[in-house]
């Protein structure tokens, strides 16, 4: 086992820890806002550590760029989806029109 593989395993485990923590937060937190917080933070950090860990054992530069792009796109997607859901919750709780909040 090379030193790169060791670093990669540690980083991937760190990523797995953040995913685990985020999942617990999603299941245990009381309302939508805190759940969103748990989910997005955990996804960004967890996926970031995993991408970093995989980059250490990847074969080529294009592969690393693709991995980085995956993380970048997931960051954009999750942060903006979080904003849209949070905004919707804020809007619908303000107008007391929460019947079709779809059980969020």
């Amino acid at each position: 086992m090379t030193i790169y593989q060791g670093i990669s395993i540690i980083l991937c485990l760190a990523g797995g820890f953040f995913f685990f923590a985020g999942t617990i937060g999603l299941l245990r937190f009381p309302d939508t806002y805190t759940r969103l917080h748990a989910l997005t933070k955990a996804d960004n950090l967890g996926l970031g550590f995993m991408v970093l860990g995989l980059a250490f054992v990847s074969g080529s530069i294009p592969e690393i760029i693709k991995l980085g792009l995956t993380w970048f796109l997931a960051l954009i997607g999750s942060s903006s989806a979080c904003y849209i859901i949070g905004n919707y919750m804020h809007y619908s709780s303000r107008t007391k029109d929460n019947e079709d909040g779809f059980g969020l």
Binding site: L73, I76, S80, Y83, I84, N87, D97, D100, F102, G103
Partner: protein, 308 residues
């Protein structure tokens, strides 16, 4: 090897578990979210089975666009939603178990050293001028199937457009989006979506990718723009939209007629790659346009936004 089979086992068990949860789901929203999860896991399973083509298509269509369409329908239904308790009818359950048992039993009859038709496809691959067997099967060897699939898609869109009001497609400026975040996301994602769609289309000739995957990615960009209230559909004249929608089916039709006249066989195109490329590009455009129209032509839209 041990780890791999453990991973496969987890995927298989979660797929079965989620399928069971979908049947048992109490409300529609839960069922749809579970269905999207099911699609994502299914694409993971296809990846494990070394079928990246189907995995991309499943993730894009099964999890992505089908999810959008189902959510849209839910928005339409939410006013008249009735909670019905899921009931399991015993004869139906029996029939399902019989079918599952027969399918499982048939696995015993697959010969161990069976490789399907892959060797035949590989040997005929040079004739098609393509390097990727899946694209060659879809667009050349079994072009007939792809042609009819495009026809099915076109028929579905025609049905939706007939049911929905004609102005819904023209009237795409919904809630005029002044949202800074949405326009920011669009500015970043749209160029990437167009790039990735083109890349998948170009990749189809020699690697996993192709018309369906590229079309769905482009359609996702269109749906994103449309959800944000961008009036891009209005910028394309209606006639052009209709032409683009029919382009894939029509190009296959032209190819079929042309080959019928010259070689007296349906859909045998000449050696050169231009035919395949033309059909593939036309199919991509019309798949993208059809899927956007499926989403935007739904009658749910107007009611949903009247409230705000």
């Amino acid at each position: 090897m041990k780890m791999d089979s453990a991973f496969d086992l987890i995927i298989g068990l979660s797929l079965t578990g989620i399928a069971w949860r979908i049947i048992q789901a109490r409300d529609h929203f839960q069922a749809i979210v579970l269905f999207i999860t099911f699609g994502l896991l299914l694409s993971l399973a296809w990846t494990r089975l070394n079928s990246p083509d189907i995995a991309i298509a499943e993730a894009a269509v099964g999890a992505g666009l089908a999810g959008v369409l189902l959510m849209d329908t839910l928005g339409f239904m939410s006013s008249s939603r009735k909670q019905s308790k899921p009931s399991t009818s015993i004869p139906l359950l029996g029939a399902c178990i019989c079918l599952a048992g027969l399918t499982a039993y048939s696995i015993l009859y697959i010969p161990v050293d069976f490789h399907g038709l892959s060797s035949e496809v590989q040997s005929a691959l040079p004739q098609s001028g393509l390097k990727h067997p899946v694209t060659a099967v879809l667009l050349d060897f079994r072009g007939y199937d792809t042609w009819l699939e495009l026809g099915v898609l076109l028929a579905a869109v025609l049905g939706v457009l007939c049911l929905g009001k004609t102005e819904t497609i023209n009237d795409s400026s919904l809630s005029a989006s002044a949202e800074p975040v949405e326009s920011w996301v669009i500015k970043i994602l749209l160029p990437l979506i167009i790039l990735i769609g083109g890349y998948l289309l170009w990749l189809g000739a020699f690697a996993p990718g192709g018309a369906f995957q590229a079309g769905v990615v482009l359609a996702a960009g269109g749906v994103m723009l449309w959800q944000a209230g961008h009036p891009f559909l209005r910028l394309i004249p209606r006639l052009w939209r209709q032409i683009i929608m029919c382009a894939g089916f029509a190009s296959f039709l032209v190819l079929a007629l042309w080959s019928l006249l010259y070689t007296e066989q349906l859909l045998t195109h000449p050696e050169n790659k231009i035919w395949i490329l033309g059909v593939e590009y036309a199919a991509t455009l019309s798949i993208a346009m059809c899927l956007i129209s499926l989403v935007s032509g739904s009658p749910a839209r107007k009611r949903k936004y009247k409230k705000q």
